[in-house]
Each structure stands twice: as C-alpha cells, then as structure tokens.
C-alpha cells in the first residue's frame, strides 16, 4: 500500500477491482465503510462475481476475468477524451512530458524489439530520448508526437466503451458510470483509493493490470494524496516482510538484487545498479545502493567481508536465469532435477498450479522437509486419501520430514503488514508437544551443516563457516538479536551527516547513517530505524493520531524511515502548498517540510529546486511509461488469459501474454474453449484463510464444504440444482464439489457471446475439521505473470456437469 489502512477513510471514491476486500480483509475494509458513512464516499466494485464487497457497493460493474487492462485503458481514454485529468499534477509529477526515443513502435499487440523464440523483448527502443546534458528530454508543451502523453493517447485509442463492452462484457452504460465516478476525483480536493489484491496479480499480465490503474490514478492526481493511492492488499500477515527481506531467488533484503552471472565483481555489480538521475538534481534512496549493499554483506559475514575481498561479493550466488521461482523450481523437480525441498509454513501441494504436476514433482524428489505448526497435505502427499489424494505410497520413494513449529501465540517477533508497519508481538503460551520455533530449527540446521563442513570440508564452505552467527545462544538466536541486525549497527566508529561521531557497536538511527566503507552493518536498509539505541521502535503502542489523519505516527514503525504515506510530497502542488487544505499531509513552511507524516522528500529541499516527488524513481516522477522495468511492455496492453473463452479481439494473433514464460509441458497442458467452454476463477471466502482455518472448528462450522458458484442460467443449461454434486474438470484435472447456484453470477455478453463464469473457492483439502475436498489448483494452468511469475489462478477454462457424491459422502 502506498498509504495505510486508516487513510482509506479520507477517500471520496473507492474502487475495489482485482480484489474482494470485504471478504479477504474485513477489518481493513472497515475504513471503506467508514469513508462511506462519514465522508460520503462512493464505492465502486468491478468483479466477475457480485461479491460481499459488492453487497455494500454504490456501483457494481461486472467484468470478465483477465480483461482488466482493456477496462482500465478504457477509463484512461475516457479521462483523456473528456479532459478529466489533474493537469498540473500530470505535468509536474508524471513523465507525460518525457520524450521517448526514436524507433519505439507498437503493432498487432507487440512492442518493438520482440523475439518470438525468446518470448522476450529487446527493450532498447523503450527508453527516453537523452539530451546532450545526459538527462531525459522533456517537452513541457506535450506537443511532441513522441512524448509519453501522446504515445499513451495513441496506445489506448482502441479502448472505446464499445470495445470495452465487447472484450470485458461490462455493459456500456455501467462502464460509463464507473468512468464518470472515477473522473470526479480529477479535481484537486477529491481523491480515489484503489484497493486491489490477487485478483490483479494472479494473471499472466498481473503487473500490467496494476500499471493500468497506476496510469489512471496518476492522470487523476491521486497518488501520494490522503485517501488516494494504490492499495495493494497483501494476502498474508507477513508476506510484505518476506518480500522486504528478499526471501526470493533474486533478491537481497531491501529490494537489492542478487547478482547475475554477468556481474563480474562488486564494482561491476554496483556500477550497473547505482542510481543515475534522469532529471537534473533528482535525489533518490538508490543513490546509496552501495552503502546498503556493503552494510548487508557486513551483517552477513562480519569481518570476513572486507574491501579486499570485494565485501565477500563471491559469497553470494549468481543467477543464470532471471528467477528460480516456484514454477521453475517444481518444473525442475518434475524433470527430476531437484533433490529436495525445505518447506517452511507452506502447503504447495494445495497451492501451486496443476496438482497432478505437484504430486509428480514431489514424488521425484529424494526428500522434503516440512516445517509447520499444522499438518499439511504437502507433508502427506504420499498418503492415500481415497479420491482426494489417490496415490500409491509404496511407489513413492521420497523421504519426508514433518517438523512441528510454534505459531504466533507461542513466539515473539514482528510482522510487516500491508501498510508497511513492523508490529512487534509477544508470546502468550508454551507450545504443545515438542514444537520448536523456526528460528531454532534453521539455526540447528545451519550449525550442523557448519560443523559437517568444518569436520569434512566440502564444496565452497566459506560462506557457511564464515556466516556471522554471534548470538548469545547460537542454538537459539532471540528475535531481539535478529531485529537489531535488521536495523543495523556500527562496526567501527562513524560520523553522521550532522558531524557527530557514533562509536562502534551502536544501533544506527536509520539508513542515512549507513556507510559503504564497512563501518556499518545492516540486514535490511528499509527496516533501519526499527530497533535503535532508543529501543524496540516496533513495540511502540502510542495510537494518538494528530489531526485525526488516520496516520498514528507513533504506532510501531513503518518503513521507510517511519513514513506512513509514500510519495506524500505529491500531496502538495509544485510550490509546496497542499492541493487541498482538507487533505493536508505535509507542506513547505518556508524553511522545511512539516506536517502529519514524515516527508517523503528532502526535509529541507525547497520546492523551487523542482526535485520530483517520486524519489524512488530515477525520473523523480510517476511513470505513465516505464523504460526497461517491465518485461512485457512500456504500456499495458490487453492480452487474453492463456486459457480464454474467446480470441483477443483487438490483436487476434496474440495468445496470452507474448512475454510470459511457459514451459513446454505446461503449454501442452492448456485446454481450448471448445473442450472447456467456461471461464473459471478461484478465490478466498471470508470465512476461511487459505487452508489454515480448515483446521479450526469454528471456521469449519461457518463454511464446512467445498462448493463452486455458477449462474442460474448455466445451472439450467446443465440441469444442476442448488446443493447438487458437480464435477468440474480442466485439461489438467477434475474435482467434485457442491453447487451454489446464484443470481450473483450472471453470464457476461462478450462480443455477442455469453461467457459463463465458474467460481471456485480455495479452502478445502483432506486434513482438518472441514469436509474433505479439493483445491482449485487441481485444475489451474502453470503459467505466470511475465514480470513476477505469479500463476494465472484467476482465469482459466473448465467444463462442468452434475455428478454423484464422492465415495466418502455416498449416503
């Protein structure tokens, strides 16, 4: 989230699209209801299903899953055609006026530089035109045919309301109502908050879905504003934290990158990543990339990371492919190229696409280790559970460990929520049986391996034996010790900006104090400030909220630098005055930036300097156009899902996202609309949380059994009645569930053809208190977003028919 949960109460319009906030985030959704009740806000819901969010919406618009880009491009077109944009904002705070290099082109759904066999682009033509001064060329008048705004207009010209209706199945009148309502926030005193979640990310063009709304929000001048912003509602309690901390194949904590093979050494690596401003005087955190990186190396390998050995640059693995994400991981496993998997609090068997493939992948591994507070299907993938898990144990040669771990009530530590708050929690009880904290388990594994290497030696042991592990009790580092590492500390005395010297061994106050000379160590620069000499900032519980802004600045710690609303400089006009008094966050008082939140800007940088407010970007402004950042194009483009009930209307040649990676076997596993006529989608219900709450009696009572949702029309066609058993199958598998026949799903009229939606919630399995059931991953295709490899769980094809109960349910 660029803003925070409470901030939503300031919104004048709230759009929930690509998500179902009321069901997935009920307690955060309260702030939407608050905005409606006390800020007279209007709630728009765009969704294939009339969800529980829609039940309290002012305006509901149906849409076929996987067509969000067409819809939002249509909105952007409406805004530009009807001059409903916040002009000064767009001019000053977006790259609308930037001029793009000669040679950029877009035709028949492909951008310039596409290579069919690589399924990838050569992005050189997607850059800005560079001036002699080494900065990007800008045409303030926005007359230049190649300036971003004009390219955008051209790019989205095809998305007329009629085209939107043909592609999305959203009735034209409703679509226009949505446009009008959104357009109403183009004024400086009205803002729209966009709430989205996996309804946008779980597509083969997930990132571009989000980009589309970013473009709309930028045109409306809603980013960095109170009650505005892009609110990514993260799915899990600490998924924000795990991403921040880089628990991914290609990341180092704080969104630094794992080097790739071509990065020969430290200098080379840094030179490719060091920030180069695209506009004169532009500032950014990334200017300090080297400081963050060196401090990270120091915290990892302490005295073993020295200037001489390039800060132990070689201790880090180098990537030969963009990512070793889960899709690749299990593809390799299926090919028998993986030896084992260590799985911490995760249930991949019932999560990753194509259950059959997952079972095969697990069966081909030598061992798997599952660490979890709950019994998971994954840990028992080899156990026969009738039709729910029909395997022959004797044929599965995988060695399996199930290690019991503590859960939240039995340990302390911090979680990072969607608002980027690091909240500390405390231990309430001893764990049952022999459960151990994950920290102790990981430590034990590390210490044992280290001991083995010390004793017997082996492949490149240095990074292991030299790993910085000086905890009071090496067997069990305390969360406090680890938090202190994340915050960072001085290794040698340093002098900070104010000139004061800080002795060695002190906690740093924030990332501003980090150095690239090895005198500081820091696990995650964006977390710096969470555990200073003042103590555990994450444990702060002062909920006072000056100005009733919904900011509560002294509640725990928010990264970066306790800033609650990102890009908040954009809440003021170029002169530093708030666009709207009512929505004031910060302002320039002549000497410095002051207000209710920590300024996302140089505190003393005067407005006259014209430093862009989006200081995470090299341009310093919001990007309507992205240079090399996105793998699948500088602008979002409508592509159909890989399994789609219809062809791509504007670009008939396109099948799926041309830049998405898809493995051969998985390509062969795609079905056609001839065999599988219905558009399926998967989602959460508010009564459950993934497959965790099926272990909880009360939640089992509230939603006991798997079902699929279909329209009355489809039910009639198929002779299915409420509560009947139905079989749903795709090219990859088949499952049984109860039928919920509802008015809340209606056939969508797309290009004159009725598209039936089949909805599958995802909360059941063969262990726990709920009735036995399947997970939609039995049916889903293995293809991910071109940029993040997030699987396409939200749009694929199935067929459906009435059937008999599973054996264990035969009366």
């Amino acid at each position: 989230m660029t803003n925070l949960w409470m901030d939503i109460k300031h919104a004048d319009v709230i759009t929930v699209m690509g998500g179902n906030a009321a069901e997935a985030h009920p307690c955060g959704f309260k702030w939407v209801v608050e905005a409606k009740a006390h800020n007279n806000a209007k709630l728009i819901v765009v969704d294939p299903r009339f969800t529980r969010t829609a039940s309290v919406a002012d305006l509901y618009c149906p849409i076929r899953q996987g067509t969000d880009i067409a819809f939002l491009s249509g909105v952007a077109k409406y805004l530009l055609d009807n001059d409903k944009i916040q002009h000064r904002y767009v001019a000053a705070y977006s790259n609308a006026a930037f001029v793009v290099k000669e040679g950029y082109d877009f035709s028949e759904g492909l951008f310039s530089g596409y290579s069919e066999d690589k399924r990838d682009y050569d992005k050189t033509t997607w850059d800005y035109e560079m001036g002699p001064d080494g900065f990007a060329v800008v045409d303030e008048t926005m007359q230049h045919p190649r300036c971003v705004l004009n390219l955008l207009k051209k790019h989205i010209a095809i998305y007329t309301p009629e085209m939107v209706e043909r592609i999305c199945g959203s009735p034209k009148e409703t679509f226009l109502k949505v446009c009008e309502l959104m357009a109403s926030t183009a004024s400086t005193d009205r803002t729209m908050a966009s709430l989205y979640a996996l309804g946008w990310t779980q597509h083969s063009k997930g990132s571009q879905n989000i980009r589309s709304m970013c473009i709309v929000q930028t045109l409306l001048g809603n980013i960095g504003q109170l009650g505005g912003g892009m609110q990514a509602l993260r799915g899990h309690s600490n998924i924000q934290g795990l991403t921040d901390l880089g628990l991914m194949s290609n990341l180092i904590p704080g969104y630094l990158n794992i080097p790739i093979e071509k990065d020969e050494n430290y200098a080379d690596y840094i030179s490719k990543r060091q920030f180069k401003p695209l506009r004169p005087g532009q500032m950014s955190y990334w200017q300090n990339y080297n400081k963050f990186f060196v401090s990270f190396q120091k915290v990892m390998w302490g005295e073993h990371a020295t200037k001489e050995n390039d800060w132990a640059f070689d201790y880090l693995p180098k990537l030969d492919v963009p990512t070793y994400d889960v899709l690749r991981g299990f593809e390799l496993a299926k090919q028998g190229k993986m030896t084992g998997y260590v799985i911490q609090g995760f249930n991949p068997l019932m999560t990753f696409p194509n259950r059959a493939k997952m079972t095969e992948a697990f069966s081909r591994m030598k061992f798997i280790v599952v660490m979890d507070p709950l019994q998971t299907e994954t840990a028992r993938f080899w156990e026969n559970h009738g039709e729910y898990n029909d395997v022959d144990s004797s044929k599965i040669q995988t060695e399996v460990f199930e290690l019991p771990t503590t859960l939240f009530a039995e340990e302390e530590g911090s979680l990072a929520n969607s608002s980027r708050w690091l909240q500390w929690h405390w231990k309430a009880q001893e764990p049952p049986g022999e459960c151990r904290p994950d920290i102790e388990i990981m430590s034990a594994i590390h210490l044992r391996i280290k001991a083995l290497y010390k004793r017997d030696g082996g492949a490149y042991a240095d990074p292991i034996v030299n790993l910085n592990w000086n905890y009071a009790d090496p067997e069990s580092p305390t969360p406090v010790e680890l938090a202190r590492e994340l915050n960072g500390y001085t290794v040698a005395p340093i002098t900070d900006a104010s000139g004061t010297t800080i002795p060695a061994g002190r906690q740093v106050d924030g990332f501003a104090q980090l150095k690239d000379d090895g005198s500081t160590a820091c696990g995650c620069w964006i977390y710096s400030g969470c555990y200073t000499e003042k103590g555990n900032i994450m444990a702060r519980r002062d909920n006072t909220d000056p100005g009733n802004k919904g900011i509560a600045p002294n509640w725990t710690f928010a990264w970066p630098a306790n800033r609650r609303i990102l890009y908040n400089r954009a809440s003021c006009d170029p002169e530093g005055k708030p666009w709207s008094e009512k929505k004031k966050i910060i302002e320039w008082n002549g000497k410095q930036w002051v207000g209710f939140d920590v300024p996302d800007y140089g505190v003393t940088t005067p407005p006259e300097k014209n430093v862009g407010p989006f200081i995470l970007n090299q341009e310093g402004v919001a990007r309507l156009w992205t240079r090399g950042l996105m793998r699948d194009g500088p602008f979002p483009t409508h592509y159909e899902p890989f399994e789609s009930p219809m062809a791509n209307i504007p670009f008939p040649k396109m099948k799926g996202n041309p830049a998405s990676r898809i493995f051969k076997g998985d390509l062969a596993d795609l079905g056609t609309s001839a065999e599988f006529p219905y558009a399926a989608t998967s989602y959460r219900l508010t009564e459950h949380f993934h497959q965790w709450t099926k272990h909880s009696r009360i939640n089992a009572i509230l939603q006991p059994e798997m079902f699929v949702e279909i329209s009355e029309q489809l039910a009639k066609e198929k002779g299915i009645a409420k509560g009947d058993w139905v079989r749903v199958w795709s090219k990859r598998g088949s499952l049984k569930a109860k039928a919920v026949v509802t008015k809340r799903i209606k056939p969508l009229m797309c290009d004159g053809k009725a598209v039936h939606v089949v909805g599958l919630p995802q909360h059941w399995g063969f262990i726990g208190k709920t009735r036995n059931g399947w997970h939609p991953n039995t049916l889903t295709p293995v293809v991910g977003d071109a940029n993040t490899e997030t699987p396409e769980y939200k749009a694929w094809l199935v067929n459906i028919e009435a059937t008999t109960p599973p054996n264990d349910r035969v009366a």
């Binding site: 998924i239 901390l245 083995l452």
Partner: protein, 198 residues
C-alpha cells in the same frame, strides 16, 4: 491508552460485581435468585493479557490473547480466549471470522506436535527425535550441496546451488525470515521463494 482505560472499566465492573456480591451476602441477593444464575461470571477477570498480531491476512489486526496462569512458577499458561485489541489503530478491537476464532487455530487437533519421519515407500509417519531429524536433514543437504554446487560457469564465478529448494513462510516473523535468509543464502541456494504470489 484506551486499553488501560478499558481495563480500569473492567476493574470497575468487577468492583460493582463484588459490591453486588456483598449485597447478596447481606441477603439482598436472595430476592433475585434468578439473577445470580442468569449472568455468567465474566471469565476474563483474572486472565493474563498478551498483545499479539493476527497471523492471517495483511491487515495485521491487533489481538489480545487471554491466557490461563499468571506466569507464576507452578501454572502452565494456556490461551483461553482471543479478542481484538481496542488500541490497535486499524482494527480498533474488531476481528473477522478468522481472527475471532484464533483460539481454535491455536488449539487445533491437527497441529503438529512431534517430529515425524516417513521412509521411502512407507505408508505411514513414524515419530522420531529432533536430533535424528536434524542430523539427517543436515546430512542430506550437505550431501546434495557437495554434489551439485556450481562454483564456476566457464570463467565466471557463480557459486550457486539450485538443486534443493527453499520456501519461506508468510506467517513467520520478520526475524524468523531473516534467520532463514541467512542460513539459506549462506549455502549459496537460489531456488528460494515465498508465498508472495499465492
């Protein structure tokens, strides 16, 4: 902070209750036999309160865990009730159907309690000791790392290990995640991911 206030409120409640009690003792209570039986005693009066965060979605609602035992040596604490934290700026004491039933998650019958081990081809889990499990896991990891670690690709130093995958848990604390990160990366592992996508 309002929780203090609310606690005071609670104490006041108890005060009133005790007053009522003594009235009862004086015989006034006898006039209303039904009342005494009707209202269940407020069960949280003396329970230990622990601040925590709901482990489910990313709203990260504040919760208060009410547990048996006051940390005195001879009482084993056990969570008896979970309720929203009224101080928390986001949830302000509210909880969703999942948060409201966290107690059943904590006390779930299908929680793992002991290290279990399944041998190749076997159709059942067997309980094993922690030492057995950890020694064997460390051995398996090292064995494969030594076998499949790639130090160089041509003349490029790559120092990577990709044949054992690691998955991080989205509900573990950042401190746990950091510990995991250190352990995994120090081995040069690259097949490393988390739940961000699901």
């Amino acid at each position: 902070m309002n929780v203090q206030v609310s606690r005071r409120g609670l104490l006041k409640g108890i005060g009133v209750g005790l007053a009522g009690g003594s009235l009862g003792a004086l015989g006034f209570g006898a006039l209303e036999p039904a009342m005494a039986a009707a209202v269940r005693p407020f069960k949280l009066a003396q329970m230990k309160e622990t601040r925590n965060t709901c482990p489910y979605c990313s709203v990260a609602c504040g919760v208060i865990l009410y547990s048996l035992g006051d940390n005195s040596k001879n009482s084993k604490s056990a969570v008896m009730h979970v309720e929203g934290d009224p101080d928390h700026p986001v949830n302000r004491g509210t909880l969703c159907p999942k948060g409201s039933s966290l107690l059943d998650f904590i006390t779930s019958e299908t929680r793992t309690k002991y290290p279990m081990h399944r041998e190749p081809g076997s159709s059942e889990f067997k309980r094993v000791s922690w030492d057995f499990a950890l020694d064997r896991i460390a051995m398996l990891l090292k064995e494969d790392r030594d076998k499949n670690f790639i130090a160089k690709n041509g003349d490029l130093t790559v120092n990577r290990w990709t044949t054992v995958g690691f998955l991080g848990a989205s509900a573990t604390s950042s401190e746990t995640a950091w510990c995991t990160y250190k352990v995994v990366r120090s081995m040069g592992a690259l097949t490393f991911d988390n739940q961000a996508r699901v």
